[in-house]
Amino acid sequence: MKRFAALYRALDGATATSEKVSLLEAYVREVSRADAAWAVYLLLDKKKSALSSGALRQRFLEASAMPEWLFEECRGHVGDTAETVALLLHALPRSDGTDESREALAALPLSTWMEDELPRCPRDDVDKQRAALVRWWSALSPWEALALNKVLTGAFRVGVSGGLVQRAVASALGVELSRVQRALTGDFAPSAALLTDLESSTAAADDSKPYPFLLAHPLEDDFVFDPARWQLEYKWDGIRGQVIKRAGQLFLWSRGEELVTPSFPDLREPLSSLPDGTAIDGEILAWSTTDDAPAPFATLQTRLQRKNLTPAVLRGAPARVVAYDLLELGGEDLRERPLAERRAALEKLVTDVALPVLSISAVLEAKSREELEALREAAHERGAEGLMLKDRESVYGIGRKRGVWWKHKREPMTVDAVLVYAQAGSGRRANLFTDYTFALWKGDELVSFAKAYSGLSDEELAELDKWIRKNTREKHGPVRVVEPELVFELAFEGIAKSARHKSGLAVRFPRILRWRRDKPAREADSVTLAEALLNPPK
C-alpha cells in the first residue's frame, strides 16, 4: 500500500498530463505485474466499491470516540468522506500489535492487499469490517489511509483518464497502443496475466471487447458548413453503445464501458442473428409504443431502474438500436476506413439482417447553414437532442477528436429560479458553498425544482459563498437555508413529470446559465411555466 499511496499522492500533485503518464509508467515498470494490473484496474475505476462511504463513516464513528456532529462538520469542510476519515485517524485508539507488524502490513504489495487483506472486510458483517478497518488504519499514514479508503469506496478522481493509463501501460511494456486499448476497455481481470498477455504477441483477443468510443465536440462558433463534407444525423438521446457479435455471442456495451446485455433481453435475442465478427456503434433507445419514434429518455431511464424486467415492462418500453457506424465486419477492423465507406457497409448490413430492433440513423439533407439550423430546431420534435455532423472522410479515431465529429444540440430550455438551499461542494469545491437548490413559484410558495452545481465562474462562486454565509436563515446539518432573494437562469436539456420531486418535475443536465442580478425573487418563473415546457408526447 505504501508504494501505491505514493503513486496516488504524486498523481494528485501532478498537473501536466505528460508528468502523470511518466509517474504511472515508472510505477508499472517498478512493481510486479500483479501490482501494476491492480493499479491500472483501480485507476480506471473498474473495481466495484467494497464499502459505501456511509459504512466507512459508520465504522469510523463506532471505533472512535468522536461525536457524530463533529465528524459531519469535518466532512462538510473537507468535502469527502474517505479523506475526512484519513485526517481523523488520530482520534482512534491504538490497536494491538507491534510497530514492526504495523509497518509490515503497510508495506505489503498492492496485490496482496487487494487479494488477501480486502476480503477481511466483508460487506455483510459490520464487526469484521470494523476490526479490519481499525487494524489497517492504525498501520497507515494519512495519505496511505486515504488511498486505502478510496480503494474501498471507489472513485479515485486524480485526473487520470483512460487514455492516459493506456499510454503509460503501452510505453512501460513497449507494446502498441491499440493492443493496450483493446485489452483495457470493458471488463478485464486485474491479474499479472493481463500484462504478460499484452507482452506476448500470440495472446488471443478477448471476444467481448468493444472499441474505444469516438466522441463529438460541441460545434464551435467559427464552424463553416460545407454540405459535401459533412454527414448529418440526429443526435439521439438514449444510451450510446456498441453491439458486438463475436464467436456466437452477443454483447451490448454502454459508452461507460459497462456490459449492459442483461438489461436488454429484448435486444439480445434478435441481435444474435448478426454475423460473427460484427461491431456496431449506435444508440440504445426506448421506442414509443404509439408512434414510430423514440420515447423520451425518461422512459428508458424508468426501464433501467427496474430490477425485474417483466414482460409488461418490456412491452411498455421496447428497446431498439439505432446504428451510427460500423467498426468491425467479418472480423475485420474497419476503423481506418473513411466514414463514407463504413456507412455504405453499415447500410448494407442493416438491410441484409432486416431486424425490427435494428434501424439505421438516417442521413439528413441540408444545403445551407440556414437549413442546418432549421433541422436542429426541428430535432426536438423528432425526440432528438440535436444534430451530429461527421466528416465523411474521417477515420474512426479514439476519444474526443476535434474537428471530426461535431455535436450541435438544440438551444437548452431555461427558467429563472430562486436560490433556496446551499451545501458545501466536494473536491476542489470543498468548504465553499457551491451545491445549490433552486425553486420556482407555486402560488405564494417557492417549491424546490432543481439542483445545479456548474456554470458560475470562480469569482461568482466566491461571491455567492460569502453571500450565503451572511444570509443563512437556518442550518440543517450541512444544508443552509438561505434568504430567497437571488435569481439565476437555469438551463436544462429535458424535462419530464416526476413523482419524486416537490415541483412534480424532473430536469436533465440542469446548470446555471447566469446570475440574474437584475431580477428580484418575486419575478422568478413559476412551476406552471416550467410545466408548459414538458415534451409533447411524441
Binding site: A14, T15, M66, G79, L87, L88, G427, A430, N431, R469
Partner: protein, 332 residues
Amino acid sequence: MALIDVTPEGLRCALGGFYVDPAASVDRAILTHAHADHARPGSVEYVCAQSSLEVLRARLGDDAKLVGLEYGERRRFGDVTVSLHPAGHVLGSAQVRIEHEREGVWVISGDYKRDPDPTCAPFEPLACDTFITEATFALPVYVWTDPRVVAKELFDCWRSERTHATLVFCYAFGKAQRILAHLAELTDEPVFLHGAMERLTDAYRRAGVSLAKTSPLPESASHKDYAGRLVLCPPSANRSPWMKRFKSPQTAFASGWMAVRGQKTRRGYERGFVLSDHADWPSLVKTVEETRAKRVLVTHGSSDAFARYLRESRGIDAAPLGHLYEGDEGDT
C-alpha cells in the same frame, strides 16, 4: 457589563477606552499583531508589543503613532490594567491581558500557535476568567506535523528540481520569514524573494532574527537563471504576469489549509506544505484548558463547532463571539 463587547468597529473595552485590532479608525487601538486584517491604518494611537514595532512601522508608515510595550509590562488604561504576552503567531504577536477589579481577568488570544517558531517568542499560557480564543483551524482534521519536518520536505522538494524554478507561495509577513529561518539551518544557498516580501524580511533582520540569505529577483534574467532556484512569493502572484519569467516552474503553497486536498486543488498548486502560524486542533483544546477560564468566547473560522465541542465534550462554558469575521477567514 462585559469587559469586552463586539461592536461594528471591532472588539471594544469600554472601561479601558480602547479597541483591540479595530476594523475602523479609533482613538486608541491595541494591536495583537501586524497582519493587515488586524492592523489597519487610520487610528490615532496604536499600542503594540515592543518587538512588533519594526514590522508595524513597515506596515502603517512612519507617521503612525506607535507605543511599544515589553511583554509582561503592565500599563493602566482607564479603569483597567493591560499587559501584552507572547502569542507565538509571528514576530511581535501578542495576547492582550486585561484586568479589572470587578470583571476579573480577560485574555484576548489574537492569532496564536504552539508549534516551535525560530522567528518569534513562544506562546505564554495565561490563567484568566474569560478567554477569547481564535478558531481558524478548529476542526480535528487539522493536526500539524512538526514544522522542522515540513521545512525539510520543502527543502528536499526544492533540491530535487534542478532544471526549473521552485516557486513557494506563502504570506509575505510571518510565513515567508519562518520558512527562511528554517532554511537557514539547512542551507547557505540564497533564496530569491518577491519584491513584496523584501521590506518585511528586512524588518525581521533588523529585529535580530536569523534568516537564510536572500536576494531580489534579477532585473533581466532568462528562465535558465532560475533553474534549480527557490523563489518565495505571495499568493497574489500566482498566475500573474509576474510569473511569466519562469518556464514551467514547480509550484507549492505553504499554509495550514494545505492539509485538505480540495483546498490545494482549488487553488491550483501542485504541492502543498502544511505549515501554519495558527494553532491546530489539539493545541487549541490544550490552550483553552491551560487558561482554566470559566468562560471561553470563540472567534474566526470554525467558531460554532469549537464552542460546541468545548461545551459538550469538555464541559466548558463556551460560545461563539458573534459573526464578526465570517467569510473573512484571514488565510494566514
